[in-house]
Amino acid sequence: MKVPREIDLSLVTEAVKGLLIKANISIGQDIYNALVHARDRVEESPVGKYVLDQIIRNHDIARSDQMPICQDTGMAVVFTDIGQEVVFRGGNLVQAINSGVEEAYREGFFRRSVVADPLFDRKNTGTNTPAVIHTRIVPGDRMTLLVTPKGFGSENMSALKMFTPAEGPEKVRDFIKETVAAAGPNPCPPTIVGVGIGGTVEAAAIMAKRATLYPIGRRNTDSRYAALEIESLAAVNDLGIGPGGLGGRVTCLDVHIDFAPGHIAGTPVVVNICCHASRHAEVTI
């Protein structure tokens, strides 16, 4: 019989804290490279090039001065895949994750942007907790933590639509394009668009959020979905919104699509937009 692997929860707290500090300060190399490529090779608009240049210089300054890339250090979203042979010791998993968030935002001098009640008093919790936690139980004895501080300029521009079985991929592409068009300059373009297709409403939303975190240039392994990603990216960039929404070719750095089996009667599609400050970091313990 297999012996369960123990993970001390203080390790989880440390990991979440470290990942959030890293993500808020230093952008992933794939995004950095995509921004440089966009500025030097793709963008035609002078103001668009200028905006891209400021964004790139901002990443350099954030990294060298250890400052948050953006003042909106977001709501902490934590995806965790837990091996079924893992046993946690030393407390409570949710609390351990939230402690990591709280410590990261305090020690990193990050802005706390979470309110306890979303509708009535909207009082700030003062700790940037609770995090939004998505847990999956997977085979094995390891645990993966993927964190992303999600800014709301772009989150606010996301959309859900229920499609009928008769509606095909063109309709989905049009919905992606319409959502980006309606967002205009607000989500801080160039954006990264994550799309979740199928399953139920909440399953599609979680897929879409995860999809925003895929590396730039990653294509769906199903060639039909990969083609839809490429077509949607081209359609979105035809909008002319451009960097900062001031006009240009580069409105979006990539469109990532994920899909899941769905019901015979309908297909939820969620378009989740992430700004150019697509901050995320991952570790396996």
Binding site: R111, C188, G240
Partner: protein, 193 residues
Amino acid sequence: MKYAGRIVTPLTDKAVLSLRSGDKVLISGIIFTGRDAAHRRIADSIGGNRPLPFDLNGQVIYYVGPSPTPPGKTCGSAGPTTSGRMDPFTPLLLDLGLKGMIGKGTRSSEVIDSMVRNKAVYLGAVGGAAALISKSITRMETVAWPELGPEAVFRMRVEDFPVVVLIDAYGKNLYETGPRQYLRDPAGRPGEE
């Protein structure tokens, strides 16, 4: 893109009228911060005939909620927030002499009409370029409502704060003219100029 020039706050009508949508300019001088909660309080103060935390005449408001100031720094990261949420309050402030706003994102037609009437300008800082912008902030102090945390009103001294004129005092809007130039129709042909 070259800088069209430098402007110094407080803004005069002459300075405002010299700015054109699409110009890239550097701002120096004193600016005030304010976002959702501060705007609501400013509007309440005006409604209740209570004094305002600062005289709006000729001033510039920056829509920002900075991240906390780390030790040894003047200010945390301080990029613009979405301006549209301030739209319901803005005409009131413009009528009281506010001359400039710094933010990101589109404005309502009421705001643009009021800007033209009051000779005011809407300037854009690059959303997400928050660490870079913080470098041009040389002093920062709280003016009102510290209990609002990042949403308090701060007085900032800025030097060469880089902005683009988004909507000028003639109502010309870069968010309309810019994207239109690069729009391509679904067949891939360029859109009308």
